[in-house]
């Protein structure tokens, strides 16, 4: 029915089956939209956040999807700046994923703030010392860059390419893509870093406070490294999942292995840096703030196991797997390792956001717990459903994996 819209040579399922796949996600989207409406109409009392737990599921989600979305900038950087041509096979998909991650994060951020209509104040009265200012500026600029990178993929679609002047614009945009890739890399460095800095500068919370290297706390650099490591893993993982779901070979196996290798080495560097940082933090930074580091892990929910899980099981283990050529050669291990790497980064963002706020600071404080309300969860699922829907539609009508056509011939 919609064959004239599908790029020639791509095999896609029938329209009714495609709609059947979209239906549950659309339902989830509708539920999420209702929850978001409630938050706008009634206020943030619809959430389970409170004066102590000022950040909740949403901020955690923002940090995680932005870390995973780093695949877009890193793939673009490797392809357009370092000229790793083999990544042409995944760059479109990476750009779409990046766009979805960032737009989803900004969307949920707009629900999360109490006065979204005042968001422009940050631009007008910026406090240049705040990490959140850096994040706001960079996210906005980078979303624009991602939209510019997404546009050519859309303009090349089968129907839109008949609009000749837009196709010419696409052609010219593609020629200058290296500039956008470089700008995207610059912006990504700063906002990934600033998201880490967000917690690193909080001297009120010895659990998240880190000593500064130059003008930024160490988490600034750790977040850049971990996002750069997780990004390629996430591109690898999604490519594999899409390939399994659509039952198609989308890229040559070497491309996935290359992504895994890049991810692995970066993760290894990250785990090393994280180890050093943790030692400095536990042995020097925290005692200086009058805090015994053992106390961070003294509460039942968050024992030292969480540090071990984050750094070793979800850090060192996938890093070693991904740098080993023999492990990479086995697709199962490759995919498992990249999934572990993504989970590791997600856990790191969880610890920074949730554990920081759960731990008491004042002597008469208690350890607090928090579980999100259904509205928060539904808004979270809204972003997930939005991502799945837009990605599915993009996958059906756009060429996300240029090698797919060739590989389909076998």
């Amino acid at each position: 029915m919609d064959e004239p819209l599908i790029a020639r040579g791509l095999r896609r399922t029938t329209l009714p089956r495609f709609l059947l796949w979209l239906a549950p996600w659309a339902a989830l989207l509708a539920l999420g939209a209702w929850a978001i409406f409630l938050c706008f109409a009634e206020g943030l009392n619809q959430t389970n956040m409170d004066n102590r737990f000022a950040f909740g599921l949403w901020i955690y989600l923002d940090l995680t999807v932005i870390a995973l979305g780093a695949g877009a900038f890193f793939t673009g950087f490797l392809l357009y700046v370092l000229k790793r041509k083999e990544l042409r096979a995944v760059v479109n998909s990476a750009v779409v994923l990046g766009f979805l991650c960032y737009s989803g994060a900004i969307l949920i951020l707009m629900v999360d703030v109490g006065q979204p209509l005042r968001a422009w104040f940050t631009f007008w009265h910026p406090n240049v010392h705040s990490m959140l200012t850096e994040v706001t500026f960079c996210l906005t600029c980078y979303l624009l860059v991602l939209a510019i990178e997404y546009a050519p993929v859309v303009l090349r679609s089968r129907k839109l390419r008949d609009l000749l002047s837009l196709l010419v614009l696409e052609h010219q945009l593609h020629k200058v893509m290296a500039v956008f890739a470089a700008v995207g890399t610059f912006l990504s460095f700063f906002h990934q870093g600033s998201l880490g800095g967000l917690y690193g500068v909080m001297n009120g919370h010895p659990f998240s406070y880190r000593a500064s290297l130059g003008i930024w706390p160490s988490t600034f650099f750790l977040f850049i490294l971990s996002a750069a490591a997780a990004g390629p893993s996430f591109v690898l993982l999604t490519t594999w999942v899409v390939s399994k779901l659509s039952r198609k070979e989308l890229v040559k196996p070497e491309v996935l292995r290359f992504l895994g290798k890049v991810s692995g080495w970066l993760l290894l560097v990250y785990v090393g840096a994280k180890g050093v940082d943790s030692l400095v933090w536990l042995n020097a930074t925290s005692p200086r703030a009058g805090v015994s580091p053992a106390s961070f892990y003294a509460y039942p929910s968050f024992g030292t196991w969480i540090l071990f899980l984050e750094v070793v099981v979800l850090g060192l283990v996938p890093a070693l797997l991904l740098v080993s050529e023999r492990a990479r050669a086995r697709t199962g291990l490759l995919v498992l390792a990249s999934a572990l790497a993504c989970c590791g980064v997600a856990l790191n963002r969880f610890v920074q956001t949730i554990q920081t706020q759960a731990l008491p600071t004042l002597p008469f404080d208690a350890f607090l717990s928090y579980s999100p309300s259904w509205q928060e969860t539904a808004a979270f699922l809204f972003v997930v459903a939005y991502g799945v829907l837009v990605y599915s539609i993009s996958f059906r009508y756009l060429v996300l994996f240029p090698e797919e056509r060739e590989l389909a011939k076998g």
């Binding site: 409170d50 109490g114 959140l132």
Partner: protein, 252 residues
């Protein structure tokens, strides 16, 4: 970087010393504060963690195994000289006035991102989770000197900035540049039945608050964090001083 103050204008550092030995935990300070500053009454659905409160009275237990004693601790904004909230606010909705030392929350500029709340170790800030409402005609009793805040913004103790403005206006009308200290007393100080709170200019060595602040019985909350609060506490009880000036996490 900071606007240069007029040299003829004297700089102040307003602060308070709260005598924990006198505090009975009656909560009069919280009530007086809410009335003075148009703090909305908590709606039915709110909890103690989602209401708006500018000065919270907590109870601290004697941590020693044998200790069955406890102490009440009123916690307003600690008015830090190096406020963690000020440097994290993305749009300068938190301002440290160099002329008074007061950390102000500019409600009309607040985005409601709550980063300041996450950054404040004293949990002295409240978010308007609900739309502020004054039921049954109580809106007529609002203080005209203090603006009400919107849903979705953060607020906190301002050391009764409305009263400082009124004192300044009175001084200006009398042709004076300096206010009479007796004209500027925050509502909580005034309301405390046991006179536990002493307020004044810490910069003025002759003031009572400066004298008390220098005494060895006075201490700050979480001094090791480097926030340098201008709200101090005092107690003759060593266990109170020892346990309150250490962070909870140090004891694990």
């Amino acid at each position: 970087m900071e606007p240069t103050a007029n040299p003829r204008e004297r700089r102040h550092r307003y602060g308070m010393v709260i005598d924990l030995d006198r505090c009975t935990g009656c909560g009069a300070c919280t009530v007086a504060c809410s009335v003075e500053n148009n703090v909305p009454p908590p709606p039915e659905r709110s909890t103690e963690r989602t209401g708006v409160v500018w000065i919270r009275v907590s109870e601290a237990q004697d941590p020693r195994p044998a200790g069955a004693r406890s102490v009440f601790v009123p916690v307003p904004c600690q008015q830090c000289d190096d406020p963690p909230c000020e440097k994290v606010c993305p749009q300068r909705a938190v301002e440290l006035d160099p002329k008074t030392g007061i950390v102000a929350q500019v409600a009309v500029r607040c985005l409601g991102c709550r980063y300041c709340m996450a950054a404040c170790p004293y949990h002295a800030r409240s978010f308007n989770w609900f739309r502020p409402e004054w039921p049954d005609g109580t809106a007529a009793l609002l203080n005209p000197d203090v603006s009400v805040r919107q849903r979705g913004t953060v607020e906190k103790c301002s050391f009764c900035a409305g009263r400082l403005q009124a004192a300044k206006a009175k001084a200006a009308a009398a042709g004076s540049r300096e206010i009479d200290p007796a004209d500027y007393v925050p509502a909580c100080v005034e309301a405390c039945p046991s006179r536990a709170i002493v307020f004044g200019d810490l910069e003025d060595p002759s003031s009572e608050v400066a004298r008390l602040a220098r005494e060895s019985e006075s201490f700050r909350l979480l001094p090791a964090l480097g926030t340098r609060p201008k709200v101090l506490y005092r107690s003759v009880e060593p266990w109170v001083r020892a346990s309150l000036s250490q962070p909870e996490v140090s004891r694990g």
